[in-house]
C-alpha cells in the first residue's frame, strides 16, 4: 500500500547516499567531508521520513520521527561548514573543532530534548497518528524548543547562502562561476519553497511535510553542480590556496598600474605588507615597469630577469607579465608572476667560474710543461758559459749565477702552476697538528731575528693528507717569516672546537692593506717583491679539499694572523662535491 510514496523517496535517498560516498572518496579536498556529511544527513532525513510515513502504529511512528531528527539537526551545521570551506580563504578560517563543537550545542540540545520529550513535553505539545490510504501522518503541535531550533537552523542556512552569493559574485573563471551559480540555485530551493509554503503550498502538499523533499532536491542539484563543473577536487578553494602557497610571487595590477592584490610570496620578495602596497603604483616596486608594460602591449606575455636587493643581497627574479583581458578583450590589468632564480643564477655563476678555472688549469699545465724545454736550453748554455768564461771573469760568473738562480725560480713558478692546476687527490692518514707543524718547521730556514713559538697540540687525532697539509703549513710559515724582514715572533697554536680544529699562524710583521685582502687568495697575486704568488692560493685549495677553510685577520703595521680550520675527519664524499 505504501509503494507509491516509498519508491521515489528511496530512489532520492539512494542518489544522496551515492553523492555522499563520492564526496567522501575525495575527502582530501577541503569541503568534501562536509559535503559528504551534508548529503548523508539529508539522506538519513529522507529515509527516516519515509519510514515514519509508512508506520502503522503511533509508537513506531514517533520513534522514526525522532530518528529523522538526527539528519534534521545535522544539515544546517554541515551546510555552513561546507559553504565556508568552499568559499575558502578567510571564510574557512573559523572551521576548527572547537568552533564546530560550539555550533553543535543547539542541535545536540535539540536531539536530547526530542528523545526525552516524555519527561518534559518541551518539544511535542500533542501527538496524533492518522493512518491514511497510502501513508500515515503523524500530527503534532510543537513546543517552544522546536521554534528555537528552527530559527537557529534557518539562520545557519541563511549565512551559508549569503556566503555562496559572495563566492558567485567574486571574480573567477567561468567554470567556477557556473559551479557556484548551481550551488546557489540549489541552496535557494528550500527558501523559495518556504516562501511558497507560506502562500498556500499546503494545498499542494495537503498532508505531507515538503521539507525533506526540498532539501533532497537542493542536495541533488548541488551535487550535480559540483561534479558537473570540475568536481570537488578543483574547487575554488584549491585554486586560491595554490596562489596563496605557491613559491612564485603573484601581483595583480589593474589597468591603471596600481597594485590590486599580491600573494604572500610576492610580499616576501618585495619585503612589504600587502596593505602598504595595495592601491600604490606598481612602479614603486618595479622601476622598469613602464618599459615592460609597453612591450607587453606589443607582444603579449613579457618575460624579463631582474634584480631586487633583499637584506643587502641581490636576488634574481624572472618575472612574467601577463595582460588580463575581460570577456570583450579589453585590457583589465596585468598579472605579474615572479620566480626566484637566485639559486639558479648562483649555480650558473659557480659553474662558469669552475669552467673558467678548468680552462686556466689546462692552459697552465700546457704552458708550464712547455716552458721547461727552453729553461733547460738556458740552463745548458749557462753552464757552458760558466765553466768556460766564468772561470776567467768573476763578473761574468756572477751574472751567470744570477741566470741560474732565475732558472730555478722560474722552475718553481712552473711547478706551482702545475701543482695548482692539477686535480687533487687526498691520501688520508691519521696524524695530528703538532706532528705536521714540526715537520713543516724542519723544512724552513728560519732567519736569525725570528723566534718561533710552537704551542700546537698533538690532540685530537686527525685524518689528513699529511704531505699536502705540511705544504699548507710550510707556505703559511714562509709567508709569516717573509712578513717580518726585521725580525719578530711567529706564534703557531691549535685549538679544538667541536669537530673542528683551528690552527693559527700569527706574525707581528707588516700586515696587509684592505685592498690586498680581496685578492689574497687568488693565484699569481703577491705583495712580496719576490714571492711565488701561488702559496696562499695553493694553501686555500688544499685546505678546502680537506673540507676546511682558511681566513686571515690583519692590521697594517701590526701583523697578520692566518687561521686554518680543519674538520677532525675529512669526508672524501664531501670533498668530491666541492
Amino acid at each position: 500500500m505504501h509503494a507509491t510514496t516509498r519508491t521515489p523517496l528511496l530512489l532520492v535517498a539512494a542518489a544522496l547516499l551515492m553523492l555522499s560516498f563520492t564526496a567522501w572518496r575525495r575527502r582530501s579536498v577541503r569541503g568534501s567531508k562536509a559535503f559528504a556529511l551534508l548529503m548523508l544527513a539529508v539522506a538519513e532525513w529522507v529515509i527516516a521520513y519515509a519510514v515514519t510515513i509508512m508506520s502503522v502504529d503511533l509508537q513506531s511512528a514517533v520513534f522514526w520521527d525522532r530518528v529523522q531528527f538526527f539528519g534534521v539537526v545535522s544539515v544546517p551545521v554541515a551546510w555552513l561548514i561546507f559553504v565556508s570551506q568552499y568559499a575558502g580563504g578567510r571564510f574557512e578560517a573559523w572551521v576548527r573543532p572547537r568552533n564546530v563543537a560550539l555550533l553543535s550545542i543547539v542541535p545536540t540540545a535539540m536531539l536530547l530534548l526530542i528523545w526525552t520529550d516524555e519527561a518534559h513535553g518541551l518539544f511535542y505539545s500533542s501527538i496524533n497518528l492518522t493512518v491514511a490510504e497510502s501513508f500515515s501522518i503523524l500530527e503534532y503541535t510543537f513546543g517552544p524548543w522546536f521554534w528555537v531550533h528552527t530559527v537557529y537552523s534557518y539562520f545557519l542556512l541563511l549565512v551559508g547562502t549569503f556566503l555562496l552569493f559572495h563566492v558567485f559574485l567574486r571574480p573567477s573563471p567561468l567554470t567556477y562561476r557556473r559551479q557556484s551559480l548551481v550551488l546557489l540555485v540549489g541552496s535557494l530551493v528550500p527558501w523559495v519553497a518556504s516562501m511558497i509554503q507560506l502562500y498556500g503550498l499546503k494545498e499542494l502538499f495537503p498532508v505531507l511535510d515538503p521539507t525533506p523533499f526540498l532539501f533532497a532536491v537542493a542536495g541533488l542539484t548541488m551535487g550535480w553542480g559540483l561534479f558537473r563543473f570540475g568536481l570537488l577536487d578543483i574547487m575554488p578553494v584549491a585554486r586560491d590556496s595554490i596562489v596563496e602557497y605557491m613559491s612564485e610571487g603573484v601581483v595583480v595590477v589593474d589597468a591603471r598600474n596600481r597594485v590590486v592584490d599580491m600573494n604572500p610570496a610576492a610580499k616576501r620578495m618585495f619585503g612589504y605588507q600587502s596593505s602598504e602596497l595595495v592601491g600604490q603604483e606598481i612602479t614603486k616596486l618595479l622601476s622598469n615597469w613602464p618599459e615592460m608594460m609597453k612591450r607587453s602591449h606589443d607582444t603579449g606575455v613579457v618575460s624579463e630577469d631582474m634584480v631586487v636587493n633583499q637584506d643587502q643581497m641581490p636576488h634574481y627574479y624572472e618575472s612574467r607579465i601577463v595582460p588580463l583581458r575581460d570577456g570583450h578583450g579589453a585590457l583589465s590589468g596585468f598579472l605579474v608572476v615572479m620566480q626566484d632564480i637566485t639559486e639558479r643564477r648562483r649555480m650558473e655563476e659557480r659553474l662558469r667560474e669552475a669552467q673558467r678555472m678548468a680552462a686556466i688549469g689546462e692552459t697552465a699545465a700546457w704552458v708550464g710543461h712547455d716552458l721547461r724545454n727552453p729553461l733547460q736550453g738556458i740552463a745548458g748554455a749557462t753552464y757552458l758559459l760558466k765553466t768556460t768564461l766564468g772561470s776567467m771573469n768573476p763578473r761574468a760568473n756572477e751574472m751567470l749565477k744570477l741566470i741560474e738562480d732565475s732558472i730555478r725560480y722560474s722552475d718553481k713558478i712552473v711547478n706551482d702552476l702545475l701543482e695548482y692546476s692539477r686535480e687533487l687527490r687526498l691520501e688520508l692518514s691519521e696524524t695530528n697538528v703538532k706532528s705536521i707543524t714540526e715537520d713543516a718547521l724542519g723544512k724552513v730556514k728560519i732567519p736569525k731575528g725570528i723566534r718561533v713559538v710552537n704551542s700546537t697540540k698533538n690532540e685530537p687525532p686527525m685524518e689528513l693528507d699529511v704531505e699536502k697539509m705540511r705544504r699548507v703549513f710550510l707556505n703559511l710559515i714562509r709567508n709569516a717569516v717573509d712578513a717580518m724582514p726585521k725580525g719578530g715572533t711567529l706564534t703557531i697554536a691549535s685549538v679544538r672546537s667541536g669537530d673542528n680544529v683551528h690552527i693559527t699562524f700569527k706574525d707581528i710583521g707588516e700586515g696587509m692593506a684592505t685592498e690586498a685582502l680581496a685578492k689574497l687568495w687568488s693565484p699569481l697575486y703577491t705583495t712580496k717583491t719576490k714571492g711565488m704568488g701561488f702559496g696562499l692560493a695553493i694553501a686555500k685549495r688544499l685546505v678546502e679539499a680537506h673540507g676546511g677553510s682558511i681566513s686571515v685577520e690583519t692590521e697594517l703595521g701590526k701583523g697578520s694572523t692566518f687561521t686554518v680550520t680543519l674538520p677532525m675527519k675529512t669526508n672524501p664524499e664531501e670533498v668530491k662535491e666541492k
Binding site: 721547461r372 729553461l375 738556458i378 745548458g380 748554455a381 757552458l384 765553466t387 722552475d411
Partner: protein, 159 residues
C-alpha cells in the same frame, strides 16, 4: 778515467737549444757526442755507431721516447739510456724503467746533476764490462785448463 771520457753519447731532443747546449757541455767534458732531432734519426745513428749512453727526450716529433728505448739497436756493452722530460708523471716514469731506461731526469735540471748522473752510469757500465770481460777471461782460461787436463791423459794414453 781516460776511457770514460771518450765514451760516446747520443742526445735525442727536438729542442735545438737543448741539443746544442748539451752537445757543447758534454764535448767540453771530454765525451764524444752525436745529436738526433727525431726518433728515426736516432735509430739510424744507433745502427751505424755504437753509443755508450743515450739521453732521450720523452716527447719527440715522430715517436714516443719510451718507444724509442726498445727500437734503438742494442750494443755491447749495453747502452745506458737516460730519459729527460718536461712532462714527468708517475706512469711514464714506471714505463720508462720497465722498457729499459737507466735514469729519469726532470727538466729543467742543473747540468752538474746531469754530468754526475752520466758519469755514474758510465762507471757502472764500465765496471759491468770489466766484470764480464773478466768472466769471459776466466771462462776461457777454465776451458783451456779443462782442455789441457783432458788432453794430457789422452796424450798419455797415446804414449
Amino acid at each position: 778515467m781516460k776511457e770514460l771520457e771518450q765514451a760516446r753519447i747520443l742526445i735525442i731532443d727536438d729542442d735545438a737549444n737543448v741539443r746544442k747546449s748539451h752537445e757543447a757541455v758534454l764535448k767540453a767534458s771530454g765525451y764524444e757526442v752525436d745529436v738526433a732531432e727525431t726518433g728515426k734519426e736516432a735509430i739510424a745513428k744507433s745502427r751505424t755507431k755504437l753509443y755508450n749512453l743515450a739521453l732521450v727526450d720523452l716527447r719527440l716529433p715522430d715517436m714516443d721516447g719510451i718507444e724509442l728505448l726498445t727500437s734503438m739497436r742494442e750494443a755491447v756493452p749495453k747502452m745506458v739510456k737516460i730519459i729527460m722530460t718536461g712532462y714527468p708523471s708517475q706512469e711514464n716514469a714506471i714505463e720508462a724503467v720497465n722498457r729499459g731506461a737507466d735514469g729519469y731526469i726532470v727538466k729543467p735540471y742543473s747540468m752538474e746533476d746531469l754530468l754526475r748522473k752520466i758519469k755514474e752510469q758510465l762507471e757502472k757500465q764500465q765496471e759491468a764490462e770489466k766484470y764480464s770481460e773478466e768472466k769471459v777471461k776466466e771462462f776461457i782460461e777454465a776451458r783451456a785448463e779443462e782442455h789441457e787436463s783432458r788432453a794430457a791423459p789422452k796424450g798419455k794414453q797415446k804414449k
